[in-house]
Symmetry: C2
Subunit: 306 residues, 2 copies
DNA sequence: TTTAATTATTAATTTTATCTATTGAACTTT
DNA sequence: AAAGTTCAATAGATAAAATTAATAATTAAA
């Protein structure tokens, strides 16, 4: 038995004529005739009485009724899958890393929720590894974080590329350069975020003065860019900072020489996440809210963080 | 999508292992893997998360649940058909021709109904053509009559072959013969059932003295063998009569010389009739109730009646 | 790092559905 | 009755598909 045979008998019951039923199913009359007969052979029951006018047998009536129901359920299955992918309605749990949340969320979240009143978000600020864990445990639906993650269970949807800048005190050489060369960076005087932030990993990757261990006069690690900026503003050291976290008119801010290091900001979902439309809409909303030059660009170098 | 793919994902959900699921479905592992993937491609949704341990995705859970239901309904369909064929329970409308009813029914009907308390019959005595009509209109379920009918809508299930005998008055030559030769029969002195009985047709076929029209001194047509026998017993003419309608010890009864003419007694149902078991059981009950020599025999000649 | 277990890939094979063309059977119309 | 018409069945050829065996690539476990 197969689903086509069921379609054939339903069509044949509808049209009571092999030729018309075959047309209905977009096959030729012999195909339909043979498949109907094959089903009858398998069930060992005549479904149709071939004398004119053609009509189902008593047993056939029952078989056809079941066939209708089965086909309906197949249809339902397809529609459920489709709806699950297309519909946006629902409550979603969003995890955002701390180095993105305060700068990115205000840019698009209100607009987005106003535009889609049937959607609601509950947002939590978590570090990357925690977001990944929670996504896998299905305690989060979507993450906004920095990729690549290299985790097969997690699907990454890149959204934008945010340049990483130097934020330097005015008593360092960088302050007097128009653009900074990554190779010239030293670990000396470098202020870092505390352990756990992926951005810290990126900074370390950019400033890797391989092997050469440096003793710092001050080892200060902060949980936020704002603290680090305050340190720098008060005449100590430099730090790296993503573009959205600073005011570009600030004289302490220096761009890197091309190719600029960037962080790839992505949406992350579990592989089983099916609401494709939500991902697409969310991505569009974010893209519309950020500076135009954040889009993918071959002059950028994506910096890994692990 | 096809039913096997649904079976594959249900088995895979059950075993959470491609190899075991494949064994369960009696196919090889690559077959199952590929078919599952094919279904995923068609639905455009990942059904399983292949990281270990293997488990369904959220959307997959829904798809699998539907698949289970669909397969269950397919099973139901098969079982309904089977039950419809196998189950005997029910009320059946039986049509029996008048030349069989009084001799055959008493032989098996009571026993049969006692043996199958869940079956009930309502019996009506009708001539062949009426039984056929009623079967076609679904106003009768089963007929017991003489075949062949040559009607495609009606399915004939031959049961037994009943010899046709001569019943002669003692003033005719036949009375003095041990066995009668059909070729020696004349239409003269022949007593017939009235028009409409199929047995009349058989008698005419046996006694066809082609073309030679005979004027009868008496043209007497009766509705029952009992009346005809009474006529013969009172010294007038002869008639033909089925074996079950006479006492073989009666000296007026003569067998034909071999090959004996017989009437084929059959069950008749509409082609759509599905209760196969009922037909089988009914046939067995009848066969057990009749003389052993009524079974099919190459020494018999089946006499048509139309 | 090996080993074992699990899933994916490939190429060949078999099975199946499907098509075209034709035949056969049952009605209609002439 | 003969010819035409409609309808379903049959046969042979073709294309599509599922399936397999063999093997590779992963992943987990020891």
């Amino acid at each position: 038995m197969n689903l086509q045979q069921l379609e054939y008998i339903v069509a044949l019951d509808l049209h009571r004529n092999h030729v018309k039923a075959a047309e209905h199913c977009h096959v030729t009359q012999p195909t339909l005739s043979m498949m109907v007969k094959k089903l009858e052979d398998e069930l060992e029951v005549k479904i149709f009485d071939r004398t004119q006018p053609l009509k189902p047998t008593l047993a056939g009536e029952m078989v056809i009724a079941r066939a209708r129901q089965i086909l309906q359920e197949v249809k339902n299955m397809r529609e459920i899958v489709k709806a699950e992918k297309e519909t946006l309605d629902g409550e979603y749990r969003l995890g955002v890393i701390p180095t993105l949340a305060p700068y990115l969320l205000p840019r698009f979240l209100n607009d987005f929720l106003e535009k889609h009143p049937s959607i609601s978000f509950s947002v939590v600020e978590l570090q990357t590894n925690d977001i990944i864990k929670q996504l896998k445990m299905n305690r989060l639906d979507i993450g906004i974080l920095v990729t690549p993650l290299d985790d097969k269970e997690i699907r990454e949807v890149p959204v934008y590329y945010e340049p990483i800048l130097v934020y330097t005190s005015d008593n360092l050489k960088y302050f007097h350069q128009e653009k900074v060369d990554a190779k010239s960076l030293t670990q000396e005087n470098l202020l870092l975020l505390e352990e756990g932030h992926c951005f810290r990993g990126q900074v370390v990757n950019i400033c890797s003065t391989k092997g050469r261990k440096v003793h710092h006069q001050l080892n200060y690690q902060s949980g936020s860019f704002e603290t680090l900026k305050g340190m720098v503003d008060n005449n100590y050291g430099y730090t790296l900072i993503p573009e959205m976290a600073v005011n570009l008119k600030n004289k302490h801010v220096k761009r890197f020489v091309s190719p600029e290091p960037v962080r790839e900001v992505s949406l992350a979902v579990h592989q089983g996440f099916v609401k494709e439309a939500l991902i697409v809409k969310l991505r569009e909303a974010i893209l519309k809210s950020i500076p135009a030059h954040f889009k993918k660009n071959e002059k950028y170098i994506r910096v890994k963080w692990h």
